[in-house]
Amino acid sequence: MIKQLSELLRYRDLLAQLVVRDLKVRYKNSVLGFFWSLANPLIQVAIITVVVKCVMRVGIPNYSAYVLVAYLPWMFFQMSLMDASQSVLMHRDLLKKVYFPREVLPLSMVIANLIHFLLAIVVFFVYLLVYLRTPIVVTWLFLPVLVLIEALLVTGLTLFISCLNVFYEDIKYIVSVVLNIFFYLTPIIYLSEMVHAPLAAAGRGSLFALYQLIPLNAIIIAFRKMLLVPYTVPPHREIAAQFQNMSNMPLDYRFLAIAAVLSIAIALLGYAYFNARKWSFAEQL
């Protein structure tokens, strides 16, 4: 693996060129350019907020911020996995003609999406500070750690997916189905407390531990807890009564640590798996 990594390092300019190519090509012929990559999550979050506030009547102030803070890391996760599943197949002509470390193909997709994610986070902070005027909290300092953990998780998964998709093209369909499930399994449109409260009431608190063992869940919960102040339920709204006994839970660091360990393991395993099979790409395609 060390040998593979040092070779990857020698080809870092190729990685950079591919990232630049991806960013340039994506918006080459669009007038609004980068705006489009923001428009999608903003509209999604606006719809979710309207549904949750006006239809489901959850009276939590600034709910849009709680959705957005989870939706942006979700977007990074989803877009990377979708892009990466095609990344090796897309370059089949090149793979048969010239040698380069094949892992640059999925990795460049992850990095391009990571850059989009980071830009969206900047916009998110502007929204927080300028529009919602929420206070600055010290746990913002954890942001790079959270991004790193998620990036490792995403990298590992994309290496598995892009490789498997060469041999079984069903993978891209499976990925999109599984992503669809995970969108609802992950606390994005709802709060993790909404999962915990009924489980705890039924005496099944351990199931909530299981819920947090899924790395993506622990990561998204951490994003919400670290970047935003604990949510409040306004007492005067009778419609919010059902949430009154649902106290805001502090972040359980143990699960974030487990997610970090799992993400590192997935990244290493993904890299090893990819390296073991990358030699057969040119013969398979």
């Binding site: 020698r10 340039k24 090509v25 090149l94 793979l95 048969k96 380069f100």
Partner: protein, 260 residues
């Protein structure tokens, strides 16, 4: 041996052909017996040594293993057995600018293509002007290459590959591209290459081009070397075998044959 540029010993390469291979998970799950792959030996024991500065042509019919041999030299395939050693920087002449992106400009594609061939971006910066002028694309270099003609794309691809300055240049079919004037330029460049002691391995059906550039030729037949020697001898042996085959096929089929 230290003094050879490419050294290949008893190289064998097998490809697995999966007839009805489950290329989807569904068919994998539904098939009770896993189909056995048919093993195709593309190379059946090849020994080859190429010295620095030598230009080697590989000729042979379709399916004789020429491209596989080139692919193994270019580190695209791994040998099934045998030893392969290639010394120095290897560059591949990509046909028709494979690796170019139509939406990017000529300049952007030069950097991208250089990176694919393993050149650092800062080294590319020094080569860019020479590449642009070699390709004769000064006016168009900032336009996206989707607006280029086919000939312009080929010229750009060729210019990048030869300016990469490799020790070993691998060429599959395309040695000279464009109109006659540009082809002459390509041959001049190849000649310069040869003078400066670089190694070229050239796979082609174009026997005129083979005779023109190669000092030595290998005739590959059915995954094994039939003749290895001076270009004229190898090409003559190859062409006479084609002629024999044509005769064998008889008059009726002679018109259709495309063995060359």
């Amino acid at each position: 041996m230290i003094d050879s540029s490419i050294e290949i010993q008893s190289l064998k390469k097998a490809f697995k052909l999966w007839h009805g291979r489950p290329s989807s998970l569904k068919s994998l799950a539904l098939s009770f017996r896993r189909p056995k792959p048919e093993v195709l030996w593309a190379l059946k024991g090849v020994d080859l040594r190429v010295s620095p500065g030598e230009t080697l042509a590989v000729v042979g019919k379709n399916g004789s293993g020429k491209s596989t041999l080139l692919g193994i030299m270019g580190n695209i395939y791994r040998p099934t057995s045998g030893k392969v050693a290639v010394r120095g920087r290897v560059s591949t002449l990509l046909e028709l600018g494979a690796g170019f992106h139509p939406e990017l400009t000529g300049i952007e594609n030069i950097y991208l293509n250089g990176a694919i061939l393993g050149i650092r971006t800062r080294d590319m910066r020094r080569k860019v002007d020479r590449i642009v002028s070699f390709a004769e694309l000064d006016k168009f270099i900032d336009a996206p290459i989707k607006s280029y003609s086919k000939g312009m794309v080929m010229r750009l691809g060729f210019a990048v590959a030869v300016q990469v300055d490799p020790d070993v240049l691998l060429v599959d079919e395309v040695l000279a591209v464009g109109d006659e004037a540009f082809q002459a330029k390509c041959y001049d460049n190849i000649a310069e290459f040869q003078k400066s002691g670089k190694t070229i391995v050239f796979v082609s059906h174009d026997l005129d081009a083979v005779r023109r550039v190669a000092s030595r030729a290998v005739w590959l037949h059915d995954g094994a070397i039939r003749v290895d020697g001076p270009t004229m001898d190898a090409v003559k042996a190859y062409t006479s075998s084609i002629a024999d085959e044509k005769e064998d096929r008889g008059e009726r089929d002679a018109g259709k044959s495309d063995a060359a």
